[in-house]
């Protein structure tokens, strides 16, 4: 039983570290600000989530676990606010995203035209 718990917590922490490294690598590799935000979102969701869950499993049922879960909830609720503010500030400042396709003009309409036969998504 203890061995199972140990293995579970270590694999969670290892996976969290892996996703943190991947997110930081994406932060350096991606071509412009908007795509870099997507890379950082991997750190702030899976990286922090898995690392803190692993630590919480290590701590067992205690105040430390409660604090870890609260810290996780704090990051999950504040991170989208910060990222949205950053993306909006970029748009306002006139930083043009490098786009493969701009669907802003038709958006919703384009989906209706394509209908059910969408080969690209699933």
């Amino acid at each position: 039983m203890t061995l199972v718990v140990e293995i579970a917590s270590w694999s969670l922490i290892l996976l969290g570290s892996f996703f943190t490294l991947v997110g930081a690598l994406g932060l350096v590799r991606m071509p412009d600000v908007y795509t870099r935000m997507h890379a950082v979102s991997v750190i702030d969701t899976l990286g922090i989530g898995m690392t803190f869950l692993g630590l919480a499993v290590q701590a067992g049922f205690s105040l430390v676990t409660l604090k870890l879960l609260f810290l996780m909830a704090l990051v999950f609720f504040t991170w989208p606010v910060v990222t949205h503010a950053l993306a909006q500030a970029c748009l306002h400042a006139g930083v043009q995203p490098q786009l493969a396709e701009d669907r802003r003009e038709f958006g919703r309409h384009a989906t209706d035209v394509q209908g059910e036969g969408r080969p690209s998504s699933n």
Partner: protein, 93 residues
């Protein structure tokens, strides 16, 4: 093992700082700074477990709130050039 996780977070921090130095626009640097904030919360939590002193979590909590307020304040400053500027009127630039 905690040391391994801490090392991974430190490498990620180094990469974020590379982006903060290189970043062509100011928003890249703000994003990198925000990432450094998130990573330091993680590093504080892992370091607390590494040295068996979970009090570091309280410091992490403060860092979480400061990260939110600090990033929003910096963004507002770069938009209006002034933190006490009336947000209802048009931006100056």
């Amino acid at each position: 093992m905690f040391a391994g996780a801490a090392a991974a977070i430190l490498v990620a921090l180094a990469l974020a700082i590379v982006r903060a130095i290189k970043g062509p626009t100011v928003f890249d640097r703000v994003l990198a700074g925000n990432t450094v904030g998130s990573l330091s919360i993680m590093l504080l939590a892992v370091f607390g477990f590494l040295t068996d002193r979970p009090e570091f979590l309280d410091v992490g909590l403060t860092y979480g709130f400061l990260n939110l307020i600090g990033t929003l304040a910096v963004l507002k400053f770069f938009r209006y050039g002034d933190l006490a500027y009336d947000a209802d009127s048009e931006p100056r630039s």
